[in-house]
């Protein structure tokens, strides 16, 4: 019997080692994968500021704009559909590499009422984290139990891709992500005005799970000694208000978030409310109803860069020769290409 158990365990060890080795081949090669690989593991850069959260942040804050205007280094770690619980664990991985950055947290996903985020979207974040105790915790808390093993060994999730593997699956080129510093916005122009509804002073509770993780992030900011800024990006919230698995009044939720931020002495920038000050023209500056486009992101990033320089003691690295590469990188950025035009 001991022989059976011993050999069985050895077999499983070998098998799971192989799964671990081949899993990266099968994971979808998206920009999200690239940015996490680049930002977490490949780049040696230290960032003054890190952007965390969902697609709203992913396509809203451009580190190249902030660098170009203020010489502040930053990286955008946000991925599409990233729930706040996944953000928490991703942030813990970010903090392993970056000491005391200013953490800018997108609060959009505080509105999610489901226990777990959409599987494909949670995968964007978790699949691309390297194996660690933190990743195990992320899997345990951000995914339903039946998905734990496939999240641990993504090949079990994506095995069906065997028939459509491409050359890039065996060697993904992260260079474009390196130049964008994690930022990626669309270039559509939405063309429609924002839906109008009455402003409200109402408050609704932050859903229990997202509140739990917001509290954890706040707690982490104290134990890891980093400054936290909460941000809400411009968006037409009439859509998520009607979405299942979401609070039915985002504006009331953000009022609660504002109260929460005040009571915890955390800055909260509701860029949705500040859209007029920033100069956001919804029809021209949005890629779709929920996400800024490249021009909108430029305006928001400019505004946010100004806010950072006015409120935080951040060094302008532009003339520092150690950061010369950042000036070079900027030339390859999306924003540089549109400003040339």
């Amino acid at each position: 019997m001991k022989k059976l158990i011993g050999k069985g365990l050895l077999f499983l060890f070998l098998l799971f080692t192989i799964f671990g080795l081949i899993s990266p081949i099968f994971v979808y090669k998206t920009q999200h994968m690239g940015k996490l690989e680049e930002g977490l593991y490949l780049s040696d850069d230290q960032y003054d500021v890190v952007f965390m959260g969902s697609s709203h942040m992913n396509g809203g804050m451009d580190p190249n704009v902030i660098w170009n205007q203020h010489g502040i280094t930053s990286f955008n770690y946000a991925t599409g559909g990233q729930p706040i619980d996944a953000t928490y664990y991703l942030l813990k991985d970010v903090l392993k590499k970056h000491q005391h950055p200013i953490v800018v947290l997108d609060v959009f996903y505080l509105g999610m009422t489901n226990q777990y985020g959409e599987r494909g979207l949670v995968s964007n974040a978790i699949d691309n984290m390297k194996f660690s105790f933190n990743k195990l915790e992320a899997i345990r808390n951000c995914t339903p139990p039946e998905d734990w093993i496939p999240y641990l060994f993504p090949v079990l999730k994506y095995h069906f891709r065997w028939s459509s593997l491409q050359q890039k699956d065996f060697g993904f080129d992260y260079s474009s992500v390196y130049y964008t510093k994690g930022f990626e916005a669309g270039t559509n122009r939405y063309g429609k005005p924002i839906s109008k509804w009455e402003d409200t002073d109402n408050r609704i509770d932050i859903p229990p799970k997202t509140l739990e993780y917001l509290n954890k992030i706040v707690e982490l900011s104290k134990t890891e000694n980093f400054k936290l800024i909460l941000v809400n990006m411009p968006c037409d919230y009439s859509e998520p208000n009607q979405q299942s698995g979401w609070v039915d009044d985002c504006e009331a939720l953000f009022n609660t978030v504002a109260d929460y931020a005040e009571s915890n002495q955390i800055p909260f920038l509701d860029l949705y409310d500040l859209a007029d000050d920033i100069g956001i023209d919804f029809a021209n500056d949005m890629n779709n109803s929920g996400h800024l486009n490249l021009w909108g992101a430029y305006k928001v990033s400019t505004y946010f860069g100004d806010y950072l320089t006015q409120n935080y003691d951040l060094t302008d690295h532009r003339s520092d020769s150690a950061y010369a590469q950042w000036n070079e990188d900027y030339k390859h950025s999306q924003v540089a290409s549109i400003l040339k035009k």
Binding site: F11, T30, S54, G80, K157, H159, S163
Partner: protein
């Protein structure tokens, strides 16, 4: 609890570990507990019917046994058997056939312009009921015939009915064989466990890599038969023929392998059925435990073949119609069974003519060419009958058959075949899988592949074991397939 689940594997391996650590006299407790855990995870409420079937047939066995030994009244013997049959078949009838009978009743009345509004029952079929009722009924009949002594130990008898590797889809066990096996001492046998695992792996390959892959194309065509023609329809029918074989043979191999891990050696349920030389031969090779059941408990009691030719033909038709009905409560299954009966009746009636023609042409019975023709004809007949088995309705079956003749040869090269749910590599993988399974079917008649593998050196063995599991995990059809769309969505 599906065989293709982590839950099942955990239960099986945990049972194996506990089973071999348990003293022999209590091992039945371990297996019975595992079996009921397995069943409760599959169908918690309906465990009651498993218990009812067990208790009724156990009690009937005891009473009949007393009569057999001369301590009971002979006149009640038949009554007890009828009672056991009524309870077991009654449960089966209610759950499996209530809606069919309701629809048939309404349909018949409609023929006479009588309209009766009846509501569908929509009863959920208790898992494994068709199998465990047949198994427990066979026990009642065996005791009645005096072929087996009644089992006095309720726990061991309950294990006979509910043994979890065979509970859901067989193979149906014979009481005279299996009850003895429960009392046999099964010492821990490392090689035996390994052989069981290897058979299970093979079963998983048949099911996950081949059957479920072929099933994608089959479902595409059968769910919309009017849309597909010619080669598409023909291909779907052939794919289904292999799908059902790989699916059921795979399931049986997993069951037999799991039982082997616990020291129970069960007879094989499939024996290269698509190499059969006649329909009669096919039924000696296909779902052997069920065809044996029908032979022993229906065909022989009806008179079998020791009667007039007419009666024999009638017996065959009855048995195969019942067999079809057992598979499912619809006209399609009924017709499938009847068709197999008709095949055999025609075969029986034409046999002298066929023999005379063969002799006149000077064809030797053992010649390879003759045997190939026999196998091919049998295969095509079986393949044709499967169309009715798979189609949702008789109309759809005939539609699919009709569409087969609207042949467009361009489908061979214009890529139409790869628009049926399987991409070209998936399609090729499916065909390759079928070829491997057929090859193994041929090889296993000559050599014991598992023993041959286990006699090789450790590096080769472990390479094969790891490769086998990797093939399953990579090429198997399982899990939620995350589409690229769900990743790109919300990206901006």
């Amino acid at each position: 609890m599906s065989f293709v689940s982590i839950g099942f594997l955990i239960l099986l391996f945990a049972t194996v570990l506990v089973y071999y650590q348990t003293p022999h006299r209590y091992r039945w407790v371990c297996l019975l507990a595992a079996s009921y855990v397995f069943y409760i995870f599959s169908s918690p409420v309906y465990a009651i019917f498993l218990i009812v079937s067990t208790v009724v047939t156990y009690g009937s066995g005891l009473l009949i046994g007393r009569i057999n030994s001369g301590t009971g009244k002979q006149k009640y013997k038949k009554l007890i058997v009828v009672f056991s049959l009524l309870i077991n078949i009654g449960i089966l009838m209610v759950f499996k056939y209530a809606d069919f009978f309701r629809e048939t009743y309404s349909g018949l009345l409609a023929l006479f312009w009588v309209s009766v509004a009846t509501e569908a029952f929509h009863l959920i079929l208790p898992v494994g009921i068709s199998f465990y009722t047949f198994q427990s009924l066979s026990y009642t009949i065996d005791v009645y015939r005096g072929d087996v002594e009644p089992q006095t130990h309720l726990g061991k008898y309950a294990l006979f009915v509910s043994f979890f590797p065979t509970l859901v889809s067989g193979p149906i066990q014979k009481s005279k064989d299996f009850l003895k096996k429960i009392d046999e001492v099964h010492p821990f046998d490392y090689a035996g466990i390994k052989k069981g695992v290897l058979l299970m792996l093979w079963g998983y390959f048949e099911k996950m890599v081949v059957a479920d892959r072929l099933g994608i194309l089959v479902n595409t065509v059968y769910e919309n038969p009017s849309k597909y023609h010619g080669l598409e329809s023909i291909l779907a029918s052939f794919f289904y023929t292999f799908q059902i074989y790989c699916d059921f043979s795979g399931y049986s191999n997993i069951a037999i392998g799991a039982a082997e891990m616990l020291g129970f050696h069960l007879a094989e349920n499939f024996n290269c059925p698509y190499f059969a030389k006649s329909i009669q031969d096919f039924w000696r090779r296909w779902h052997i435990s069920l065809s044996t059941w029908f032979r022993d408990y229906l065909y022989f009691p009806l008179g079998g073949s020791r009667c007039s030719k007419f009666r024999r033909c009638l017996n065959v038709l009855i048995v195969f119609t019942v067999c079809g009905f057992w598979h499912g409560a619809s006209l399609t299954f009924l017709f499938w069974g009847l068709l197999h009966g008709i095949y055999q009746v025609i075969g029986l009636l034409l046999k002298p003519l066929k023999e005379r023609a063969r002799e006149a042409m000077g064809i030797k019975k053992q010649s390879i060419g003759y045997r190939i023709i026999q196998v091919a004809i049998t295969f095509l007949l079986v393949n044709f009958a499967w169309i009715f088995f798979r189609a949702d309705t008789m109309e759809n079956a005939f539609l699919l058959i009709g569409n087969m003749f609207q042949f467009d040869p361009a489908a061979i090269w214009n890529g139409a075949l790869f628009q049926l749910g399987l991409t070209e590599p998936e399609f090729i993988a499916g065909l390759l899988g079928v070829a491997i399974i057929m090859l193994v079917d041929i090889l296993k008649k000559r050599i014991d592949l598992r023993t041959a593998l286990m006699s090789r050196n450790v590096v080769l063995r472990w390479t094969v074991y790891l490769a086998a599991v990797l093939i399953l995990m990579l090429f198997g059809v399982y899990g939620s397939e995350y589409s690229a769309q769900s990743f790109i969505y919300f990206q901006f």
